[in-house]
């Protein structure tokens, strides 16, 4: 049975991805940041044997290390790591740092600490990025903290790709579209897609092999390429 770990699984895209993987027979390690948010526990009642809730704050290195221990006690091999957790904040210097710490360093921590568990698996690293990180496509006149964190994430993925591709790792860099997400704290009424819609496309792209794995590409919900 294939295994996946999803960060930021409490709600939104992360939760919808958990449902996709579970419905398709995967064992899911759900990174739980908000234990008071009860949706994951309800899902656990349905998938008692294949869903595991793992306390996880990707901005905290010790929390990621504890999560590694918890996951290692449940599975021997992790096939796919989905880095989904993300925040959006204002443009103060403090927020520039905290957004970078979660959105960019979070995935770097996760990959680095979970690599030993992935060596014998499918070796697929997935990252929920954003068009907001595309310098070419950037149209905004603010949102510095968030946009910079996603651009920096794309660069981090490039550096990882340069190291790990030759060791058999494959990469997915995904722009989910404008989603009615919980990024601002409560579910947004504005947006083009429901979390379930973009999660369905992400799931397909995350599990399917490509004939062109040596190319690192930012893809969207329609599997179209975006520029960096």
């Amino acid at each position: 049975m294939k295994t996946v770990l999803i960060t930021g699984a409490d709600r939104g895209i992360g939760f919808a991805l958990c449902e996709c993987f579970l419905k398709n027979g995967w064992t899911v390690m759900a990174g739980q940041y908000m234990p008071d948010w009860k949706e994951l526990e309800k899902l656990k009642e349905i998938y008692q044997d294949r869903l595991f809730l793992i306390p996880l704050d990707v901005s905290d290195t010790e929390s990621v290390r504890r999560a590694y221990v918890a996951v290692s006690e449940k599975i021997d091999v992790l096939d796919i790591l989905v880095n989904n957790a993300g925040i959006i904040r204002d443009d103060s210097c403090e927020s520039v740092l905290s957004t970078f710490n979660t959105n960019t360093l979070g995935p770097v921590r996760m990959v680095e600490i979970f690599l030993p568990l992935m060596e014998k698996g499918m070796k697929r690293l997935c990252f929920v990025s954003s068009e907001a990180g595309s310098i070419t496509a950037a149209h905004r006149t603010s949102n510095f903290a968030y946009c910079m964190s996603k651009t920096a994430l794309n660069m981090a993925v490039r550096l990882m790709f340069n190291s790990l591709r030759s060791r058999g790792y494959t990469f997915r860099l995904y722009h989910p579209g404008w989603v009615k997400s919980y990024m601002s704290g409560r579910k947004s009424e504005a947006g083009t897609y429901e979390p379930e819609e973009t999660a369905a496309s992400a799931f397909s792209q995350f599990i399917e092999d490509r004939d062109w794995e040596d190319a690192l590409v930012l893809t969207d919900i329609n599997n179209l390429s975006w520029p960096f």
Partner: protein, 233 residues
Amino acid sequence: MCKNVFVYGAENPAAIKLIEDFSKSGYCVYAGFTANDRKAIDLVREIDENIGVCIINPADPPSFHNAADSVRDKEGYLDILVLSAEKRCAGDGEIGDTHNYEEMLNVYDFNVNGVYKSIQTFLPLLRLGSTKRIAFLSHKSSSINLCGKTDDYAYHMSLAAINMMLKIYFNALRSEGFTFRIYCAGEEGEGKGLAMSAKEYILRGLYYDPNEAFRSEENRLVMRDCFHREIPW
């Protein structure tokens, strides 16, 4: 009256060369050092003792304002702001080596928030000038498309983030008449002949016709190297 330029991150070698080139071209030059690097400061003083020297601590907002005040008091405005951010993280190796995430955060803070605060602080002075130009001394490895490196995460992530920062400022400020230049240093030894220096590129005009705004080169933010080649993001 001579044109003026403020160079932030003046301790970096590329910035020192730029300071020298601007000084020899008759510019009133201000050098903002983000470290109290006596050797670099002495180097700049040897170029021309009239170069204004400011020490800026990126963690200390008043130090940015003190630097801007020194330009305001003497010049009343600023023509060109040049930015440089070269701090790297010790032991920042390949993924799988154990990284010091706290230190990576500090480097991002120093590089990215340092440049961010510089632009915020000097914008009012740039608005008072007629040139309104913001430049960044970058590197080819800041290109997510072309970067072939496997290490120096904090440095590369900082440079990529700064490129995005400049794009957002470009979007916000271009309509006010601001122009932007991002110059990429090449690999060691590259461009030592008759290539285009950072000063030449920063001062160079790009095609602009208000009646053809859509194809005006000045209305596109690009990154170029010493051979005037465009480097993709």
